[in-house]
Symmetry: C2
Subunit: 322 residues, 2 copies
């Protein structure tokens, strides 16, 4: 399925090579993206941005693939708890593991941040980075998303992949700046999105170097969210972006940081989850991907707000196979 | 002078476009670099490395520019102490600032690591990153290296610049992975070496985000040296390099990490400071750029060891102006 999908995405891109953003309906968001790119790449004009400064940053969860009913990385961690439970008999009677093993999502959530960190520590440490990434790759081959029963890699947004390709075709460097785990993302994004490892920035755990290997330790090193997203951009990229794409208040600081770029015209775009039928509908009150303060600001400041329901012809690549 | 030098480097590169590594004497190091690059870029052979995996990492101080009699960044910090002393009358009587103001290098060194951190904190914090980089740029315009009386930017190694360009011409991605401060390096490396900000990894201080700016705080966040260099490579690049260039034991772990790459043939190169006349001669006993354990290992394992005195036709670009 995975290979078929990649072929379809490729084929679709080729047959629609003359269209820009073929999966987007004509509308204000498509127009604002195309206007922006056309304007800043026109040499000899005041808004022209030199190639070296064309840095675009994208959130991942909820911006490039789905994030409901919970971040996919949490499902990975829960599946890893189940897969390794026989080595930890104590988990049967200890929270949050007891709830994970009983498939009790409510119980897992009740364990709170402390419980989630325990789950992450138990499943994301004690091995080297390369071994961990192999585990993620293996998991993605068979794991199914709980409400759609599809492979998680089916649930990437075709219209956003087109935006990434369109930017790259115009000499933008595209970076992922996400709250997701850096090793988790590096296990699938290079192949699924065709974005290289070195352009993937995320949250990370502590690591240490031993005998030629990077070993993952049980402790959080850096959470890449809200006000720390600009810090991650500063550390890993070092130039202020000119375009930022997100879907939640977690991306708001990164978008403000981009907007504050004094040297260049900028673009800020929010993916607004308005499509209950094809995807999910949520914003101000969601416990995942909450978009509240950012939405108000975006409206006031004329940022691009994508209405998924009305502006996207299709959401997922598999809708192309018909 | 700066512009003249850049023109000369460019002109030299153009007129010698048919030569590979024109500032290198024929010898084992030049041969090993060319052999390596030719071998791994030959499609259809067992040693071929796909373009996406062609990651090369370079130390900076002592590998791409001089580092004696002390790291140039320390001279910057000392000059900043002097420039801002009027705002800090207490410095006249407090170490390590008293020694800095008296130009007493021995006193500065005697203040030890704690003293150096105080000097760095006093000069590298309390402003936003962009303002700090402007200070570095301004300083580089007029500051002179203490023993050669030349601008610091004169003291980059022309033969190593040619290695960087040669690798890039063969589709390698070149990264700086240095103990130097990330903001200090980003202020001059993009223009001097033509390596972009996002390929520059270094030590960094704590920062926080405020009102669209990255503010530098007085505290060390990450020292990029020895066993932490592989961690920095992992965090910022995410793929194991295939080629590593250094000059000291501080680079040893990064080179071992590269050598441990199981997927590709690798190259490890040490610049060995053997040229007392044109540059400096030091290795096992130097307090800066000590090369001891690494030198033994390099000899035993057939790493490339550059004998600066005998293998480099010229050291610095200004030697081309004659």
């Amino acid at each position: 399925m995975f290979r078929i999908l990649l072929s379809v995405i490729l084929l679709f891109s080729l047959t629609h090579a003359t269209d820009t953003l073929p999966s987007w309906n004509e509308g204000s968001s498509k127009q604002s993206i195309i206007n922006y790119v056309s304007t800043v790449t026109k040499e000899g004009t005041v808004d022209f941005i030199p190639v070296k400064d064309r840095i675009a940053v994208f959130d991942n969860d909820g911006t490039l693939w789905s994030e409901q009913p919970a971040y996919f990385q949490l499902f990975f961690a829960m599946d890893r708890v189940k897969a390794t439970a026989s080595e930890h008999p104590e988990w049967k009677t200890t929270e949050p593991f007891k709830s994970v093993l009983a498939n009790d999502m409510h119980g897992v959530m009740k364990s709170g941040e402390h419980g989630l960190i325990q789950i992450v520590n138990a499943t994301h440490s004690g091995m080297d980075v390369e071994t961990f990434q192999e585990e993620v790759k293996e998991w993605l081959k068979t794991a199914k998303h709980p409400t759609t029963d599809r492979p998680y890699t089916d649930l990437i947004y075709q219209p956003m992949m087109e935006v990434i390709r369109y930017l790259e075709a115009n000499d933008f460097k595209v970076y992922i700046v996400s709250g997701g785990g850096i090793d988790f993302m590096r296990a699938f994004i290079p192949e699924m999105y065709a974005i290289p490892e070195e352009h993937i920035i995320g949250s990370s755990g502590k690591v240490h170097y031993k005998d030629g290997k990077i070993m993952k330790d049980a402790d959080i090193y850096f959470i890449d969210d809200k006000e720390t997203k600009p810090l991650a951009i500063y550390r890993n990229i070092g130039i202020r972006p000119v375009a930022a794409f997100g879907n939640s208040d977690g991306d708001f600081a990164m978008m403000l940081y981009t907007e504050a770029n004094k040297k260049a015209k900028t673009l800020q775009l929010y993916v607004h989850h308005t499509d209950e039928k094809r995807e999910f509908a949520y914003d101000r009150k969601s416990h995942i991907g909450k978009l509240d303060k950012g939405l108000d600001y975006a409206k006031e400041h004329n940022w691009t707000i994508v209405d998924m329901k009305n502006e996207w012809k299709i959401v997922y690549p598999f809708e192309l196979i018909k």
